[in-house]
């Protein structure tokens, strides 16, 4: 299919009218948290009934409360609940679900599970298990990239048999090199190696870490690209041979190989580079027989050369930024594609408009080594207003379980320009209050005000350098002047305690703050948020 350069257009993308002919009546959502809610909302919008599944830790979780049906999977640990593909498939059949949406994480990239769904006649909303197998292993994916004529980092395309072989490959591509787990993800089983002396021990460490994390110790080696940007291309492929790319996402702001802030478009990708990356991504997807939503990740060096990194065969966490700049709902499209509909638009129809930034809000304490901070959310004031989207899976009173990923929500700002999107995000962050647990909201304020971030001078090492140069203080400054409003508020909160409030009532002037609070509750502060 011919592709044409994207162009930035001030007008909305032409949306073709699509008849609502989705054949699914009921979808089981095999996930939790914000993504389960995200998928559930899409189903509702398409008139499809929803089945939620939950572990014991999630009985009160939003996805359970919002779904049409909800069924218990098992105890809190993921291995006994959200990773129990057999039980999930059984539930899909019992409840009469036509399809399963796996979200991201958990079973979303498990080819065996996708295969089991295919065998059982329950549609897996994602690629066929064959494509997942081909692209799920990083070494296989590198072979596929070669076959599709896609640039990749120099290095091997099969697993390394021994440290000696690793030394040979490293000598051929030149140091520094990166050891990676073939089955890897999330930064596990990865080691940067700067000299041959360090290679054997790094090989052993990466291999055993990979074995522990993924059940496969296979590692391969590639040349380390210095100060790269992480830029990825979203693709959508239907089951009739059509495949389009929906532009890029810049995900260079990372900590320990985990994305922290994502944006679309990238400040450094022009039309020409976008077209070339998009075409390469579509070639790979087509050659692998890929269908549904997928993401091809690239490293881009300072000369704007791009190298294939890996393919994620699922919906990404950061998909909302693409939705905002393209105007397409990726989850709707995933469901339609899985139902056998053709893509309702062609590459020529894809237009990017405006700029979107996403912050991944985590229950963690940046001042304390980013330690996870599970617990009860005692206070929640959420931002809103123009251009703000929050995909979240929490509410006031919800206890964030310690058993899963600490992501609380994804805060997304959309505006005509990058500068305005940053200002909008900062405004939303100031409105956002999450009490009872520690979060990384303060970290985002710092990054979004950093001159290098504002000038888009970022690469995958950017955040680590920022944190090394300006560590977040462990103890908040205790000697500085306390703002008067804080002292006044402390006194009024103190006075509003029932014991003190009682004493206040005695003077007859007027009711205590406590009473005011009670009144506020009675007249329905709940409607305040609406």
């Amino acid at each position: 299919m011919p592709t044409r350069a994207f162009s930035f257009s001030p007008v909305a993308s032409p949306r073709l009218s699509v008849p609502c002919s989705v054949v699914f009546r009921k979808i089981l959502i095999a996930n939790r948290g914000e993504i389960a809610l995200r998928v559930l909302r899409a189903c509702r919008e398409l008139g499809i009934r929803t089945v939620a599944v939950f572990s014991d830790a999630d009985r009160g979780a939003p996805h359970v409360l919002e779904a049409d049906e909800a069924w218990r999977l098992g105890p809190a640990p993921a291995t006994e609940s959200y990773l129990r593909g057999d039980r999930i498939l059984e539930l899909a059949q019992q409840t009469g679900a036509d399809a399963i949406h796996p979200g991201y994480g958990f079973l979303s990239e498990n080819a065996d599970f996708a295969h089991a769904c295919e065998q059982a006649g329950v549609k897996f909303i994602g690629p066929p298990s064959s494509a997942m197998r081909m692209l799920g292993s990083k070494t296989n994916a590198r072979q596929a990239a070669d076959a599709a004529g896609m640039p990749r980092t120099p290095g091997c395309v099969t697993g390394l048999a021994s440290p000696e072989e690793a030394l040979d490959v490293a000598a051929a591509v030149g140091y520094p090199v990166m050891l990676k787990a073939a089955a890897g993800g999330g930064g596990k089983g990865m080691r940067a190696v700067f000299s041959p002396d360090d290679l054997p021990s790094a090989f052993a460490a990466a291999s055993s870490e990979a074995e522990r994390a993924f059940g496969s110790g296979e590692v391969y080696l590639e040349k380390l690209i210095e100060r790269p940007r992480h830029i990825e291309i979203q693709v959508l492929a239907d089951e009739h041979g059509h495949c389009v790319s929906l532009g890029e996402r810049e995900c260079s702001v990372q900590r320990r190989h985990q994305k922290v802030i994502e944006e679309a478009p990238s400040a450094v990708v022009g039309e020409n580079l976008r077209r070339r990356m998009g075409e390469a991504a579509v070639r790979l997807a087509k050659s692998a027989g890929y269908t549904n939503a997928g993401t091809i990740e690239f490293l881009v060096d300072d000369e704007q050369k791009f190298y294939f990194l890996e393919m994620n065969t699922r919906l990404q966490v950061e998909h909302p930024v693409t939705e905002l700049v393209t105007g397409h709902d990726l989850v709707h499209l995933q469901i339609r594609i899985a139902a056998g509909e053709p893509l309702p638009f062609s590459q020529d129809d894809v237009r990017l408009r405006g700029h979107a930034i996403e912050c991944r809000v985590y229950a963690e304490d940046p001042a304390n080594g980013f330690m996870p901070s599970p617990g009860r959310i005692t206070r929640l004031l959420q931002p809103g207003g123009p251009g703000i989207r929050e995909d979240c899976g929490i509410y006031e009173g919800w206890v964030v379980p310690m058993d899963y990923d600490p992501m609380l929500s994804k805060l997304v700002a959309f505006a005509p320009t990058r500068e305005m999107a940053i200002a909008r995000m900062l405004r939303a962050l100031d409105e956002y209050v999450i009490g009872g647990i520690r979060t990384n909201l303060g970290l985002f304020r710092r990054i979004l005000r950093d001159p290098d971030f504002c000038a888009a001078r970022i690469d995958t090492g950017y955040l680590d350098r920022l944190l090394a140069e300006h560590p977040i203080p462990q103890v908040e400054k205790e000697d500085g002047a306390v703002p008067i409003p804080a002292i006044a508020a402390a006194a009024l909160f103190e006075a509003s305690k029932p014991t003190n409030g009682h004493a206040l009532n005695g003077n007859g002037a007027h009711g205590s703050v406590w009473k005011t609070a009670a009144r506020g509750e009675a007249v329905g502060w709940k409607s305040h948020r609406g």
Binding site: R379, V433, G435, E476, V482, F493, N500, L504, T516, G520
Partner: protein, 166 residues
């Protein structure tokens, strides 16, 4: 009404008097009187208008570090015993035994020291896993492990004592 508030590690004397109209308060801090219009928007969320300036203060009853949130600022508030704050700050100093507590709920993955071992300051003592992340808790001081209260596989809550180093 005179009140003592613990704020940012200091004890402050504050006097508050209700004014004529509901929600009006005269607040005396360090000899200065501030006229404030206070409105409890919902429990724990207070709107203060001082000289027309609008401030939103949120009470965060965090288990270990309760605080007032004022815009992006987090201000420690309501520490029950002011001495405990000072004691916490002294921890690294080496005086007296140090207690290593779990800073979050989780599962003990590994115990890195043995009972009775002599260890260095900042040496790892226990590895706790929560939310798919492993975190090594380090000794606040050099000394001897006089108590070791957990072993691998245990589930701990925030604030649980893991070890005592003397």
């Amino acid at each position: 009404m005179k009140l003592q508030v613990e704020i940012q590690g200091q004890t402050r004397e504050v006097e508050i008097e209700p004014g004529e109209a509901p929600g009006q308060w005269a607040i005396r801090v360090d000899g200065e009187v501030v006229e404030a219009d206070a409105h409890m928007v919902r429990p724990g969320v207070l709107s203060l208008l001082i000289g027309g300036q609008s401030h939103r203060l949120v009470l965060d009853p965090h288990a270990e570090e309760p605080a007032l949130l004022l815009g992006p600022q987090r201000i420690a508030y309501g520490v029950e015993d002011p001495r405990s704050l000072k004691a916490r700050r002294r921890h690294g100093g080496g005086e007296g035994p140090a207690t290593l507590k779990a800073s979050m709920p989780g599962r003990v993955v590994r115990v890195l020291v043995e009972w009775g071992a002599q260890i260095e300051a900042h040496q790892g003592v226990v590895v706790i896993e929560a939310m798919k992340m492993q975190n090594e808790l380090k000794s606040p001081k050099a000394g001897k492990v006089v108590e070791l209260k957990v072993s691998a596989g245990d589930t701990v809550s925030a604030g649980d004592v893991l070890a005592i180093i003397a």
